[in-house]
Symmetry: C2
Subunit: 218 residues, 2 copies
Amino acid sequence: MTPPPRIRVVIVDDHQIVIDGIRSLLEQAAQLEFCGSANSGAAALQFLADHHADIVLLDLNMPEMSGLETCKRLLQQHPGLGVIALTMLDEPAMIRAMIEAGAAGYLLKNVGYEELVTAIERVFAGKSHYSKRVGDILLQPADNPDTARNAPSLSRRELQILDLIMQEMTNIEIAEHLFISVNTVDSHRRNIMSKLGVKNTAGMVRVAMERGLLERPD
Amino acid sequence: MTPPPRIRVVIVDDHQIVIDGIRSLLEQAAQLEFCGSANSGAAALQFLADHHADIVLLDLNMPEMSGLETCKRLLQQHPGLGVIALTMLDEPAMIRAMIEAGAAGYLLKNVGYEELVTAIERVFAGKSHYSKRVGDILLQPADNPDTARNAPSLSRRELQILDLIMQEMTNIEIAEHLFISVNTVDSHRRNIMSKLGVKNTAGMVRVAMERGLLERPD
DNA sequence: CGTGACATCACGGATTTCCGCTATTTTCAT
DNA sequence: ATGAAAATAGCGGAAATCCGTGATGTCACG
């Protein structure tokens, strides 16, 4: 008698201690097999190119490549792969974007051991699994038609302006810094707000941080 | 022969899966004993009032009570306790503030299992332990004497105002919403900026998100 | 060659934030 | 109970934002 095949799980997180911890948890479940980990989206793509796996536990807020982008690329190269987002971000826009990208599960980091294992098994069986709160969020219809789906990507210049705004520079200071007119800075500022669907500076900065825009690497 | 006493460790983190993972790791070390966990600073204080422990692994960016505040209060009530910060925040100001507050260790979440255990043992032995990168940061002198040391936590009302600001409400709207004067809202706004050490709304929102303030719990 | 996205600039005015200064009342911990 | 912190409030003015409306030139793409 051969033992039943175990579910092969890969963990992707930029925090090693989280990987070690979850690995230790997974190894307590006989039907699961930890088969590797990666500290970045790029490393995950590399690893999956060389190794077979059934499930990827994917942290979303990582530097360099976002979890969303990583998810898209992973599923592009491995259509049958089960991607489970494991993150503390509970923003509806991100959740919807991940599901549209093909993630089969979305767990918040306040889940416990049991639910984690349950989710892995369900996704491996071809079903999907979402945290309670995630499900609640999905139930209420998309009130704002924008969000991350129609990712209104900012232009290079707009990202630059946004960066300077978040460094607490005023329009005048930015204009002097970039050798352009204050009016131009104002235009960019308004375009940024329009693209992000916000009403003022506070919303602009909040959304910028939520979506991990302009994240400069180490 | 009685076995040697084990080091009693408490984990404080707002993410259950992180607690479960680290607990699983600790249980693999014979000389360590997981003896409880808490999901918030307040819960940690409560737990430590009822139970004896040697080491507290303390996540820093938690809602409600900050890790820094929690650390201060823990050491105030349990002077011999070994507090080890375990966080992804590598801002020099926060590191210095924690050490001033009496933390005996500061680990970044990219440490692995071995270093975690080493740190716990060293701190239990009365020494201190810092991640490599933390040590590097401490070597270079404090350039700006402000920032998180005088990290004055925001009052409840201030957090509330901050929350509404980040929801893109103007002072006037906030005033109407809370049935107070616009002048009062303005006062709060200025106090918040002063406490956070920023110059305008953009900086306020950025710092608020960086420090994970106002994260409303489940 | 048109179309659209991007970057640039202008101007006036409405609204809002930012600042200094002060001051009263409430709340809370020692 | 006493002091500290918090919450409340006012006022005038400077500065910055937000907004409507419009315009010009570039550059890529089909």
